[in-house]
């Protein structure tokens, strides 16, 4: 870039303030082309461009800006000076023309990104001028003429370039020859002359997108020459899913990333993210890095999806640059930046309607009553309901005495609202770029008058300023307020009450008053609403980082960067509990009008109470990074070294009062002076590390990379605190080899790569090496004196240290059909060693230990993942189909196992987190079957038959078998289609997973209703041949209290995760109303699912259905760009 004469008069901070003020003004006034910012930049003398620079400097600017390299003999450029103002242009074509062609030079494209600069070919001695061809070259998109385009006759050195008007004249040997048009920033075109003398050509711009440059941790790399197993998804893909939480838009988008959506609760609807499955017995969550800063509050889930430029996942040893926290892979999030150009204002508005993907189908009142009678019958008790009762429940003729309640139906709205509004302005000059955004998101729960609600307000200001030739400073500031509200009974009890809801009890009495509870006052049509007070969680988060990039003068290729980040968040939670009221009828009393007399009574608690807590947390990160790049002819070397430290501290305080006289003041002072309490605590931690990376490539063909990190964590004792985590990866771009190009020319951009490395995991409770004593619940002496109590936290382990991930990866990248088909595929084999686990399976409990974690476990995880993308244009239809899949299978190689456990029950050799189940083998159809088989004491017909696995003639715990599946799928896949036709665009994502199982067992019997599916075709004395068990009363039966395979169901599924159809207003129409672009669209999320589970959503996080079900979203949106 250009030197800015007098800029150094200003100190950095003043300048920044000035920029910020200017921008603030700009966004506030909402102007476009002649915004104050723009004007001030152009007119201000400080920014006036006056210089003349050397041509080589000018070229290196272009190299930086466009990520290309020029190869030339330096003598060629010697003494050539150019006006730096040329570089101000938006048009690369213009620049190249001005810089090279006018200086008597020419160039040729060597590889994708490499251009060789040559002297302009001297006009050849024309012995015989045969033919002349002329024409004009234009930009196919803008229609602009293109000066400086190289035109060469194929197979010769004969060529010229277009002039300032984009025209060329060339003498060719024959009109049957072929011309090759090439130009920086445009795709080359090969055009047979075919006898014409006028050959006009339109060149298509090459897209310089993030897909070409990838973020790899502390720097970016070219995708083509990177050697890690790295997958990226662009922000626009993430925006396709109409969800509030960005985590939920990742599912199915990235090969090897498993995202299981756990809940649909507003403000909670995050996903469990796993990169390449699970690797450790402990915490398997990946490290999330946002704009270079690790572990930021709220992570990915609270980030405004519209602010995301791209998300990159480091899946293999390339993550070793993040050392101690990288063992489970790293998710790198980059937020949007401004681009040079006019201010671009975008506004989007999304209105969504949500509903649960699935609510369980529960038995109706008649069926339920019948089943309760069966329970009574099996217990030898008198049946509770008469045939007449059951008939009344069935007919629905007596809604007062014999209701038939569908609790979900009574409690839920058909559709709930969610909305998102975003506004952003971005743009910039050569010296400063900015991206500013404001957004709000709002999400309401499923309940009528829902007590569940989430609102978020966020802003972001990413500003980057080129202070002078050598100094670039950027400031990213983002802030948000998160307001999450839930009714005081929360998700657990509320959904428990819904699942248990007896169809024979009224949710509302026929006169509209809420009916009785099952217990605790839990009638979900009331407790799911705002009628019970509120539990309001408010968080204010402010995250900042300042980045200073410094090109060290006199040392070409050396760059220093420093990042300072300070994140602050305040949390303020208020739990205001007030009594609520339900109506009871004794089923006897009628008033004079013969209407039942209902009694209103206080439920839940007797008087209001308030719990308030506040926490105040910060995290500070500081790093310094040096980067050096140097080309030695065919050798390119890239070095990176850095040091980083991070400190954080959380403080927490809470206060409580009860026995409020009234519910009208929800403040602490108004509560009882006697019944009150307070509490508080804090914790802190720090990490410090040194890291480096060396990249080397020869002719961009043979690639090798080393990364290493020396990482220290407060979690471990001095001496074991630091760990070194190295990684090496190599790549070979076979497609750059002549033999390849000759033999398999259709496989372009073919690269094989392999990596091995170690990363670490320190995610355990800190201070395992100390013998410390923690405060317990206390004990009451002297009748009413609560005194403190302390207990030993654990036996210390003085040698506790890192868990190590050994990661091997082998992968290929390939392109075919001129880049229209792109393939990436990987095999990986990960061995996690020194896993921090407790030796509590083998040490007898008579030792009485509370054990520390020790570095004992070993888990191996292998699998494959890959992605294949095909894009093309047929007529007016352009499309992009991308499929990805990942398979991961883990196995415990070693962990602590009790020595006496029989082999078929051992965990070792099985995947992690598997459990023991009795083997269900149908049901006993009659007493004879029980008598003739080993069976559970007291078994009766209709009970589930357990297999006598060890053949000892009796059924006991030794007959349980370890099932090698759990609730994490092994194979996950996504298939996305994006297409555009004229002004329409369409995108869809199908997503599926297999290999997971879920236990489906609800709280049923007298305690609550049955799933319809367990009611259907159940064993009864009248249906003795059924394969399904008899009616049960909660865990009273041995086959309901002992986990068995009857209730274990496949959770395989395939679902239409998201779909979107959009229409772009024609440009001509837009121009007339001053719009650059207007797009309207409709979209959906979780629209349909094919699965075997049927009862709950296949991603359900609860075996009893007592959780907030996943969302389906119908959405319509509009986005405007000025």
């Amino acid at each position: 870039m250009r030197p800015l004469g007098t800029i150094s008069k200003l100190c950095v901070s003043t300048l920044l303030l000035f920029f910020m003020a200017g921008i603030g003004q700009n966004s506030a006034s909402g102007q476009s082309t002649d915004s104050p910012l723009y004007t001030s930049m152009d007119n201000h003398s400080v920014l006036d461009v006056q210089g003349i620079i050397s041509l080589s400097d000018a070229l290196s600017e272009i190299e930086n800006d466009y990520d290309v390299s020029f190869l030339y003999n330096s003598k060629l450029l010697e003494g050539k000076l150019v006006e730096s103002s040329i570089l101000k242009s938006d048009s690369l074509a213009y620049m190249l023309s001005e810089l090279l062609i006018r200086k008597g030079l020419s160039y040729r494209k060597e590889t994708d990104r490499t251009y060789v600069i040559m002297p302009k070919p001297e006009p050849e001695e024309q012995e015989a001028v045969l033919e002349t061809v002329s024409g004009t070259v234009t930009d196919s998109q803008s229609g602009d003429i293109l000066p400086g385009v190289n035109v060469v006759v194929s197979g010769t050195t004969t060529g010229t370039s277009t002039d300032g008007e984009g025209s060329y004249v060339l003498n060719v040997p024959s009109l049957q020859d072929t011309l090759i048009f090439s130009f920086v920033g445009f795709e080359s075109q090969t055009v047979p002359i075919e006898g014409r003398t006028q050959v006009d050509v339109e060149l298509t711009p090459e897209t310089f997108q993030g897909s070409e440059l990838i973020v790899v941790g502390y720097q970016t790399q070219q995708k083509a020459t990177s050697t890690g197993s790295i997958s990226t998804v662009q922000g626009d893909q993430i925006e396709k899913a109409p969800v509030i939480n960005a985590e939920n838009s990742l599912v199915g988008r990235l090969p090897g990333l498993v995202a299981m959506n756990n809940t649909g609760q507003p403000g909670e609807s995050g996903s469990t993210l796993r990169i390449r499955g699970s690797n450790t017995l402990g915490d398997n969550s990946p490290l999330v890095v946002i704009d270079g800063v690790t572990n930021r509050t709220g992570g990915l889930s609270r980030l405004n999806p519209n602010d995301i430029e791209s998300i990159t996942v480091l899946k293999d040893a390339s993550a070793a640059i993040y050392g101690s926290q990288a063992a489970n892979g790293v998710i790198l999030v980059t937020t949007k930046k401004g681009r040079e150009g006019k201010p671009r204002v975008s506004i989007s508005y999304n209105q969504g309607y949500t509903q649960p993907t699935r609510v369980p189908e529960m038995a109706d009142a008649a069926t339920y009553a019948q089943m309760i009678n069966e329970i009574d019958m099996y217990r030898g008790r008198e049946p509770r309901y008469t045939d007449e009762d059951i008939q009344k429940y069935r007919s629905g003729t007596n809604p007062w005495t014999h209701p038939n309640t569908d609790w979900f139906d009574a409690a839920f709205k058909d559709l709930s609202k969610q909305s998102k509004i975003n506004a952003s302005v971005s743009g910039g000059s050569e010296t400063i770029t900015y991206y500013l955004s404001l957004g709000t998101a709002s999400e309401n729960g499923y309940f009528q008058n829902s007590g569940f609600q989430y609102d978020q307000y966020n802003f972001r200001s990413n500003i980057e300023g080129q202070i002078n030739d050598n100094l670039n400073i950027s400031l990213n500031l983002s802030g948000r307020r998160e307001l999450q509200e839930a009714p005081i009974r929360g998700v657990g009890p509320t959904f428990r009450a819904l699942m248990r809801g007896k169809p024979t009890l009224p949710a509302y009495w026929p006169n509209g008053q809420p009916g009785p509870d099952i217990e605790y006052g839990d009638n979900p049509v009331v407790t799911g609403t705002q009628a019970t007070g509120y539990n309001r969680d408010k968080r204010d988060v402010l995250q900042s980082n300042i980045k200073v990039e410094f090109d060290v003068p006199f040392v070409e290729g050396l760059e220093l960067e420093s990042n300072v980040s300070y994140d602050k968040d305040y949390q303020f939670n208020k739990l205001w509990e007030t009594p609520w009221y339900l109506y009871t009828w004794d089923y006897q009393t009628y008033d004079s009008e013969s209407d039942p007399v209902l009694t209103r009574a206080k439920r839940g608690l007797n008087s209001p109470q308030l719990t308030q807590d506040a926490s105040d947390n910060y995290q500070a990160t500081l790093n310094l990074i040096g980067r050096y790049q140097k080309d030695f002819g065919d050798h390119t070397i890239n070095l990176l070294a850095g040091v980083e430290r991070q400190t954080f501290r959380d403080n927490f305080f809470s206060a409580y009062r009860e026995q409020y006289l009234s519910g009208s003041i929800d403040q602490l002072f108004a509560g009882s002076e006697d019944q009150k309490d307070n509490n508080g605590s804090a914790f802190e931690g720090a990490r410090q590390n040194y890291f480096g990376r060396v990249n080397y490539n020869y002719k961009e063909k043979y690639l090798v990379e080393f990364v290493g990190r020396y990482d220290g964590s407060y979690i471990f004792p001095e001496g074991q605190r630091y760990g070194f985590f190295p990684g090496i990866s190599v790549g070979w771009r076979l497609s750059e080899e002549p033999f390849w190009q000759e033999n398999v020319p259709f496989l372009e951009g073919f690269k094989i790569r392999a990596s091995w490395g170690q990363t670490g995991n320190d995610r355990i409770e800190p201070f395992q090496y100390l013998t410390t004593y923690g405060f317990g619940e206390g004990y009451i002496f002297n009748q009413d004196e609560l005194v403190k109590s302390v207990q030993q936290e654990r036996i210390p382990n003085s040698s506790v240290t890192w868990e190590v991930a050994n990661q091997f990866d082998f992968g290929i990248d390939a392109e075919m059909l001129d880049g229209r088909l792109v393939i990436e595929a990987d095999y990986f084999n990960y061995l996690r060693t020194d896993i921090l686990w407790w030796r509590n399976a083998s040490i007898p409990t008579t030792a009485g230990f509370s054990l520390p974690r020790e570095n004992i476990g070993e888990v191996v995880n292998t699998g494959v993942d890959g992605r294949i993308t095909f894009s093309d244009q047929i007529g007016d239809v352009s499309f992009d189909i991308s499929g990805n899949a990942g398979y991961a299978y883990n196995k415990i190689k070693y962990w602590d196992e009790a020595p006496g456990v029989p082999e078929y029950q051992q965990s070792t050799g099985n995947p992690m987190n598997t459990e023991l189940y009795y083997q269900a083998d149908g049901v006993y159809n009659d007493q004879a079957e029980i008598d003739n088989n080993p069976s559970w004491p007291g078994a009766r017909p209709g009970d589930i038959k357990f297999v006598d696995v060890n053949g000892d003639g009796s059924i006991n715990g030794l007959d349980r078998v370890r099932i090698n599946k759990n609730n994490m799928p092994r194979l996950t896949a996504g298939l996305s289609l994006d297409a555009a036709y004229k002004n329409f665009d369409f995108s869809a994502l199908l997503q599926g997973a297999t290999g997971a199982v879920r236990y489906v067992f609800t709280e049923s019997g007298e305690i609550g209703n049955f799933l319809q599916t367990y009611a259907d075709d159940r064993w009864t004395p009248d249906n003795p041949d059924s394969e399904h068990p008899r009616t049960y009363n909660r865990t009273d039966e041995y086959w309901t209290s002992n986990q068995n395979t009857y209730f274990l169901r496949s959770a395989d599924y395939l679902r239409l995760k998201s779909v979107e159809i959009g229409y772009n207003l024609p440009a001509s129409l837009g121009d007339r109303i001053g719009l650059q672009n207007m797009r309207v669209y409709v979209s959906g999320y979780n629209l349909f699912t094919i699965d075997k589970l049927k009862v709950f959503d296949p991603e359900a996080s609860s075996s009893s259905g007592q959780y907030y079900p996943q969302k389906r979203v119908f959405n319509a949106g509009i986005s405007l760009t000025f």
């Binding site: 150094s8 950095v12 008790r381 509770r384 202070i467 002078n468 100094l471 099952i518 003068p553 420093s562 009871t584 009828w585 004794d586 009694t599 209103r600 206080k602 500081l622 310094l624 040091v643 009860e658 720090a686 410090q688 407060y714 001095e718 605190r721 800190p766 201070f767 100390l770 410390t772 004593y773 923690g774 405060f775 619940e777 206390g778 004990y779 009451i780 002496f781 002297n782 009748q783 109590s789 302390v790 936290e793 083998s842 007898p844 409990t845 008579t846 030792a847 009485g848 520390p852 009790a898 020595p899 006496g900 004491p937 007291g938 006991n956 715990g957 349980r960 909660r1034 865990t1035 009273d1036």
Partner: protein, 597 residues
Amino acid sequence: MKKFILTKLVFVICIVLVITSCDDQILNKKPLDQISEDDLWNDPALVETYVNDIYRGVGHGFFAVNVSSGVDETIITHGWNDAPVKQSNLTPDDLGLFGNGVVVPFDHFHWEDLYSNIRSANVFLEEIEESPVEQSLKDRLTGEVHFLRAYFYHNLVKLHGGVPIVKQAYGLDDDFLVERDSFEDCINFIVEDLDKAASLLPTVIEGDKAHASKGAALALKSRILTYAASDLYAQNPGGMAVTGYTGGDQMARWRRAKDAAKAVMDLGYSLYMGNPAPGDSTAKNYGDLFLQKDHQEIIFARYFLQNQSYPWNQADMGLFHGPNGWHNWGGDTPLGQMVDAYEMEDGTKFSWQEYRNGDPIYGESPYQNRDPRFYASIFYNGSEWRDRPADMIEQDPEGIVETAYFEMEGQSDLRPGLDTRDGPIEDWNGTYTGYYMRKFLDPNVDHQFYRQEVPWIFIRYAEILLNYAEASIELGEEGDARNALNMIRQRAGMPDIPSGESGQALVERYQNERRIELAYENHRYFDVRRWMIAPDVYENGEGVRIIGRLNNDGSYDYEYNIIEIDQRQWNDNAYFLPIPRYEMERNENLVQNPGYN
């Protein structure tokens, strides 16, 4: 050149930042919410807090389901894995009520938790030696910890028989593969700890009964010696050293037990309202003894506070077990057999047959003229209780328990009582037996909203008198036995035992007296085992279905039908709990109890 000044400045700032960041000290963090080992053992206040925590291991008896539902006292309405115990279907994988289930919270009866508490005690006993706290505090705390360790072992031994005696705090590299010690050695070890405790602790007759005292140590010694002298361990049907005595003299053991009880009796404790004045409600006296926070009968107790938070299934007896018509859960409800065990007020046995025959002592209902303790321990149809909650107060302004079904004028359907399983409030929490538990329930607390502050009494003086009586009977010193029993009966308002009652009749009278006096207090489960009467008492549970027949004047005549509501059975392996499978699999040196595999 000015631009280089700026760039150099930035460069220097960066370097400074990095240099300051390369300070390893920043990794030296300490937990902000924990105390270091040195601090703890050098600070008397903290040493005491450590002992306070060990107390938590003693547990209590105020759970949503209690041991009474594992024996012939109550049935748990909700079916929380009570079947294995009451049907003797225990396995090493499933210890039923004594296992690690989600609902069942008897930490103080769990092998694993007990040994964890024993370790805490052992750590203390090792660390206190070097601790610079003053001798008097050291003595008191040492005494308390010996008592607590004995208490933990006493729980283990009464459930499992002989268990490994662990006297040291192991380190990570020690050999943990211990063997079970004999029943006899365990008893001796417990007694040794208790003697040590008694020698170090003060006697507390009135005051803080939550702290262990000399009385508590001697009382626990009386209990464990009474247990040890019992038939189960003398006859030792299991035949192993861990299941009982393989030699020795049972009578000598009874003598030792009697002496131990006598030692407590000599300390000065007395029965609460032991000499009722004429006109006193002895029923109220008996009920109040459990509601008062302190009196001279309490030897060792645990206290609760309304505001303390406890797990959902602990310390809220009114909510757990009160009648459903008060929005309570009707959890442990008395079996018909338990209710029928209450004598008539004249000391004769209750009999449905004689009630139906119209024996004049019975009055109008089987619930009239019973042992006064009946009225303090049982809710029956017609019991008076506190005001109904707002939604039922109009239907029942007086707060009378309704477990009957009532005929209605002009209707064929019966009206289910407010506290039945067909009532209008939380019907599924209604009793199966027709009764609810009343003992321990504070009538002044609205249990649907508030926790009561009734203490759990581990050991009270009445138990010592009963232990004394039992040993006396076994030793043939029946006069001593009758005297002790009569003290208890006098407080209860019951007539003395006929002076001629002797032999088996006296044994049965004693056993029934202990059953009634200590109802729901976690004794009966162990008593029926050590007396070896379990095979007889594990019979199917009974309840009563009551129908109120409408008279012309609007009053009701009640019809009582005895119904069977619960299946129970006995197997001899249930004399002891199995050693849990998880422990057997870890330690090959352990021998399983008889009858389990």
